[in-house]
């Protein structure tokens, strides 16, 4: 692996921590350090399009207008949103030996369910998309806003699980019992299966796997390349979290799961962090100012509330730092004005350190 290979920045984390916004800020920060950067988001977030001043995000990179920012030469930002079904369809067409095979797959009822709803297919197609972005040679940095998942390591594990399903002999053995399993218990299982889902589905699935066997080698090659990249030095894993207690629990679970699988986390982003207020004295202004009595009280009440939140966030920060075991933790402040425009993202980006240039 060399430095000329694109850097992939994976933004992981549970839902509701501002992962998409953080990924956007990280993208802006790389663009502002002169890198040609693409942000790939999985969440259908219209707000990200709005923040980037784009009409909408689609399945291919669109350039973001950064003219309002001070971007050095070479720096550019692109954004796109994964369309799972479109990506799947395009790859099936590209990888099929002929148009007829592709068409049969696209029309298969089971394929249509798999390409839109199979658990893990978001991650699988994100991998496929990432493969194409890596191959395009267009970008120095690719920031991936990973899909919300039930299990911490889904982004790393799910593609392989699906690949094994497509490649594995299991389904074929099951669906052609005469060639494979012949025991009485297997026959009973097949009987139950037929009574569960009916013959038509079993036929659809058998057809799907027979067609897929001509295509899955291509998918396997792609996911192999991406898995190699994700395990290599040109991938940074960032864990995005917030100080909310449910998010913290999710973050600690992620840290534990990554450690257990010998995977490295390169940085933590603690989002929407509330800092304490400056020390104030509401008795200081001239009490004769019209309305100050009420406003002074309101401001004091607000300051107390904010400081109480800040104290909890500080504690959460310590807890995260302890769990991080020396890996840097960066805090992105909670901004009173909305962060959902390019200037807001640039403000957030300014809180990220001069980025790692591994």
């Amino acid at each position: 692996m060399s430095d000329s290979e694109p850097l992939v920045v994976l933004c992981c984390g549970t839902g509701g921590v501002g992962k998409t916004t953080s990924a956007a800020a990280i993208g802006v920060s790389w663009a502002m350090s002169g890198k040609r950067t693409c942000v790939l988001t999985i969440d259908p977030a219209k707000r990200l399009a709005d923040a980037f001043g784009l009409e909408s995000l689609d399945n291919d990179p669109n350039e973001v207008d950064l003219s309002a920012l001070d971007v050095p030469s070479g720096g550019a930002l692109f954004a796109m949103m994964l369309d799972r079904k479109q990506t799947f369809d395009e790859s099936v067409v590209a990888l099929s030996p002929d148009a007829e095979t592709a068409e049969k797959l696209l029309q298969n009822r089971y394929y249509r369910a798999v390409s839109t709803r199979l658990t893990g297919s978001h991650e699988y197609m994100a991998t496929e998309k990432l493969y194409r972005l890596l191959q395009s040679g267009q970008f120095d940095v690719i920031v991936v806003d990973t899909p919300p998942s039930q299990h911490a390591l889904d982004f790393f594990m799910a593609p392989g699980r699906i690949q094994r399903l497509f490649d594995g002999p299991m389904m074929t053995r099951l669906l052609k019992p005469r060639q494979g399993l012949t025991g009485g218990s297997t026959r009973r299982l097949v009987k139950w299966l037929l009574s569960l889902v009916g013959k038509q589905v079993v036929d659809d699935i058998a057809n799907f796997f027979s067609l897929m066997s001509q295509v899955s080698g291509g998918f396997a090659a792609h996911s192999g390349v991406v898995a190699g990249h994700l395990n290599g030095p040109r991938t940074h894993v960032m864990l995005v979290t917030s100080a909310a207690s449910s998010a913290r629990a999710g973050a600690l679970e992620f840290v534990r799961a990554m450690k257990e699988n010998d995977r490295k986390i390169h940085g933590f982003v603690l989002n929407r962090f509330v800092h304490p207020t400056a020390t104030i004295d509401t008795a200081a202004p001239d009490a004769s100012i019209d309305g100050w009595a009420e406003w002074g009280e309101a401001i004091q009440r607000y300051a107390n509330e904010r400081n109480a939140i800040a104290a909890r966030h500080k504690q959460a920060g310590h807890q995260l730092s302890a769990a991080a075991g020396g890996v840097p933790v960066w805090t992105l402040p909670y901004l009173p004005s909305n962060a959902d425009e390019i200037a807001g993202l640039a403000r957030l980006a300014s809180h990220l350190p001069p980025l790692m240039r591994a």
């Binding site: 709803r117 299982l189 309101a298 909890r312």
Partner: protein, 318 residues
């Protein structure tokens, strides 16, 4: 149509908006009205159990308050009941999930896990086993938005793929329950901020056939940004020396910004819902920000505010 006359309520919303808190609050409010309530989380998650003070998830009902029980479902738990009731055989999970070949097969059929779990929910309401609790109302602590919507449509999607068999029959039963707004309702959960509110309205646009099911929205995590009605902040600020009281001025600005932002979000939700739906959906509750989020010790007081709000003016009864 009163929320408490439903049999099944899905609490929907994006990740991190407090669906679990709202599910429990709703459950406590319904129990105050004398209903026997089950709150169910799916896919073996244990948020609900954790927040109610239990260690880990469990399929068997656990009582959190009089009239309120929680359960955590996995497809594997639910398929055993399915086998017993529909196939008239012993526990299926052993053969279906633990058998490597069949486990792969079951996992490979999109939506089958959803279907087994929803099937159990349906059975609890329509035909509970002797050992099951008898619930008047089931509240589902639904997975975050994308998956939540998929779940609502799981039965129809299954019917598109599966032509016959017991799974198709089960899907029809589930579709029958879920498509009926008299029995099934949706409660939206959101936060008082621009982005979550916009996303909630986008969610309403994706409901496709479930618009009539909406029976309320809850704004969770409201902060106390009360500001004096008069005089105006700009007026007061102009009387302060900005050099001398820089920090006070900045904090006042921030308070005013946040107060407006929060109020705008709540108004935006109210108007957005009114624009989209012919029958106005009530804003059920403006739940205050609780400092440490929901913990078991908060349970006894939960739901009173919502209970009061759900009572028809002039006392109980339709």
């Amino acid at each position: 149509m009163s929320l408490l006359s439903k049999k099944l309520i899905f609490v929907l919303g994006k990740g991190g908006v407090g669906r679990t808190t709202v599910s429990v609050t709703l459950g406590m409010a319904a129990a105050r009205s004398g209903l026997n309530v089950g709150i169910i989380e799916l896919y073996g998650t244990h948020n609900l159990a954790d927040r109610c003070g239990f260690k880990g998830a469990r399929y068997a009902p656990r009582t959190v308050a009089p009239g309120v029980q929680i359960q955590s479902f996995t497809a594997m738990d639910c398929v055993d009941d399915f086998g017993r009731q529909k196939l008239r055989i012993g526990p299926l999970s052993g053969v279906l999930f633990k058998n490597k070949v069949f486990g792969t097969f079951i996992d490979a059929i999109p939506g089958l896990h959803d279907l087994f779990q929803l099937g159990k929910v349906n059975a609890l309401l329509s035909d509970p086993a002797p050992s099951d609790p008898k619930y008047d109302l089931i509240i589902i602590d639904t997975p975050a938005t994308g998956h939540g919507i998929t779940l609502l449509h799981a039965a129809e999607s299954m019917r598109e793929m599966v032509g016959g068999g017991l799974v198709a029959e089960e899907a029809d039963l589930i579709a029958d329950l879920l498509s009926d707004p008299a029995r099934t309702g949706l409660v939206l959960t959101t936060l008082p901020d621009t982005l979550p509110v916009n996303e909630t309205l986008e969610l309403v646009d994706q409901l496709e056939g479930y618009e009539q099911h909406l029976c309320g929205a809850v704004v969770n995590g409201i902060r106390d940004f009360t500001i004096p009605k008069s005089p105006d902040w700009s007026h007061v600020k102009s009387g302060l020396s900005s050099a001398e009281h820089q920090d006070l001025c900045a904090l006042g600005d921030e308070l005013v910004t946040l107060s407006h932002r929060q109020q705008q979000a709540i108004d935006g939700l109210r108007h957005g819902l009114a624009d989209r739906l012919p029958t106005a959906v009530p804003l059920l509750m403006q739940q205050r920000h609780s400092p440490g989020e929901l913990e078991a010790r908060h349970l006894p007081n939960l739901g009173q505010e919502l209970y009061d709000q759900l009572q028809p003016p002039g006392g109980r009864g339709e």
